[in-house]
Symmetry: C2
Subunit: 326 residues, 2 copies
């Protein structure tokens, strides 16, 4: 475990424990099977980054009314719901090292339990009695579903542009990060300036987070990552490292890369050749640098806040996003 | 067209037109494909019964602030979302005489467009700025997903009881009808007594509506119904007419019925034998009578309101629910 990760975890240990309890207490299903399947996706070693960001955002705004942990479950339930639906979309087999829910219980049940989790997150949002926060939650879901559809429509298309990629990850990931941080500020009733500052922090962090996530698909191994390496590409999902290198490659190299990508069930050896090509044109470095830019913007966003321990933690989380290995 | 249906349509013609416009204007998708698929399910001859019930419920409570049509779309979008997800669950091929969306665009897209419609309904609910109404909407979704899961878990089980059936249709259908009528009362800011009266009306109407819907599977033909006759049973979905008759049948008849149901891909002839058995034990009459009881309760619920044209229309809709043929 990296030093930075250790430091962050030491600071938020109590918060993570409280979030864990809140996730168990607020699930509230009527059927045992729902509890079992929702539990399969919810309690399988998730990082709890989204609820944690809401709790810290509320805290940096001076919130102390005690409902932050309960409300933070909104964003983990929402996240888990989209994972259930995405696994079906992606035809993935592993998630966090475990078989995906739809491969165990079938597509229909996975879809319906996802709907239930979506409804739970909405019900808890309604309990805040804040239409502005509820609007944030519905906006996240609208964006995520459309981001996923956009990605799905362009699956296997080798002409996906960097601009399209950016739009997709904004909708798929950054809007949720923005929403969780914004909601933390909203429940604290701070002036708009601080709401916007935290929204910007969340948005930029989310963009960086997704880019690094996409990079990991080219750098980690299956055991560490909990899913297959090269899985994105095997599904025809092009991400920035490969998009950038494809755009810059000379025709011969581009053809070589395209052949490997098109074959889908490429060998480890082919994949190594592909990575060599990506690195020849700087696709990974470019992605890492762009992610670093977003992290810099995320941190700048917090400039309006006084220096506190909470602010320091949020800054550390931003830095860690860049260096994480899984 | 029955005389009653003609009378109702003449009264609500303008409302239905306004609802249609609102459904087009509030969909608001970012991608053409989403608009196309959502349109496939939304604009294929739906009855618009759910939004209409909200509009009439608001009107009987004296609401005149002009947002009833917009807010009524919440319940049609929600309904369309669940249809998209249910068609995947049910493995149906036809819906309202058209191929189901997932058979044209595939499961993943159908799931994601369903998510988008769910999010739209939530976003519009948020625009009401009423946490009580938003809670109604989330409660509907929680119930519907769990009702569908319950039904799915018990698919093909010939020991499904009447009590279980009632619980399933309550969650699957009646909670949505209750919610749409309740929401009409909520936006009108009437005393709790009227909110409860309309909730009861909606709930009882929904129960009757589903029972009649289940009856139609045994009595209509494919052309009128827009889906296959006997489709429920072919999927292993037992409904009240057959549950009641199975429970009352002597062992020999029960075995005969069970054999036909178990074979799933039964012939038209087998299906006719089954209907003969159902009628021998009064399964259809029992269901029709129970639905009539619920309609009576629905109408009684409106006793707290003065006699107006709107009240008359709601009473007519209740009566029509019993006599509808598709």
């Amino acid at each position: 475990m990296s030093d930075l990760k250790y430091k962050i975890l030491a600071r938020v240990k109590k918060d993570l424990e409280d979030i864990e309890v809140a996730l168990e207490q607020n699930l509230n299903p009527h059927l045992d099977l729902v509890s079992q399947i929702a539990g399969h996706i919810l309690f399988s070693g998730g990082k709890r980054l989204r609820p944690l960001l809401m709790v810290l955002s509320a805290r940096i705004c001076g919130y102390d009314a005690g409902y932050d942990k309960v409300f933070s479950t909104i964003f983990e339930y929402l996240h888990a719901a989209t994972l259930l639906h995405d696994d079906l979309v992606d035809e993935a087999t592993l998630r966090r090292g475990k078989p995906v829910a739809n491969s165990i219980w079938g597509n229909p049940i996975a879809v319906l339990v996802g709907d239930f989790l979506l409804a739970r997150s909405l019900a808890i949002a309604a309990e805040t009695k804040r239409p502005d926060l509820i609007k944030v939650v519905s906006n996240i879901t609208e964006n995520m579903s459309q981001g996923e559809i956009h990605q799905l429509m362009r699956k296997g298309h080798l002409d996906l542009t960097e601009a399209e990629y950016m739009e997709i990850i904004e909708r798929k990931t950054a809007v949720l990060f923005r929403g969780t941080c914004r909601s933390g500020a909203l429940i604290a009733d701070v002036p708009l300036k601080k709401v916007i500052a935290l929204s910007d922090y969340g948005f930029n962090l989310g963009m960086a987070f997704q880019m690094v996530d996409d990079l990991l698909d080219y750098s980690s191994d299956t055991d560490v990552l909990g899913k297959e390496v090269g899985a994105d590409l095997k599904e025809g999902k092009l991400t920035l490292p490969v998009i950038y290198s494809l755009e810059s490659a000379v025709p011969k190299d581009r053809a070589l890369m395209e052949n490997i990508i098109r074959s889908r069930n490429f060998s480890i050896n082919d994949f190594k050749i592909l990575i060599k090509m990506i690195d020849k044109y700087g696709g990974r470095t470019y992605t890492q640098n762009l992610a670093a830019d977003y992290v810099r913007h995320a941190k700048e966003g917090l400039g309006v806040f006084n220096n506190t321990e909470t602010k320091e933690t949020l800054l550390m989380i931003a830095d860690y996003t860049l260096s994480r290995k899984f």
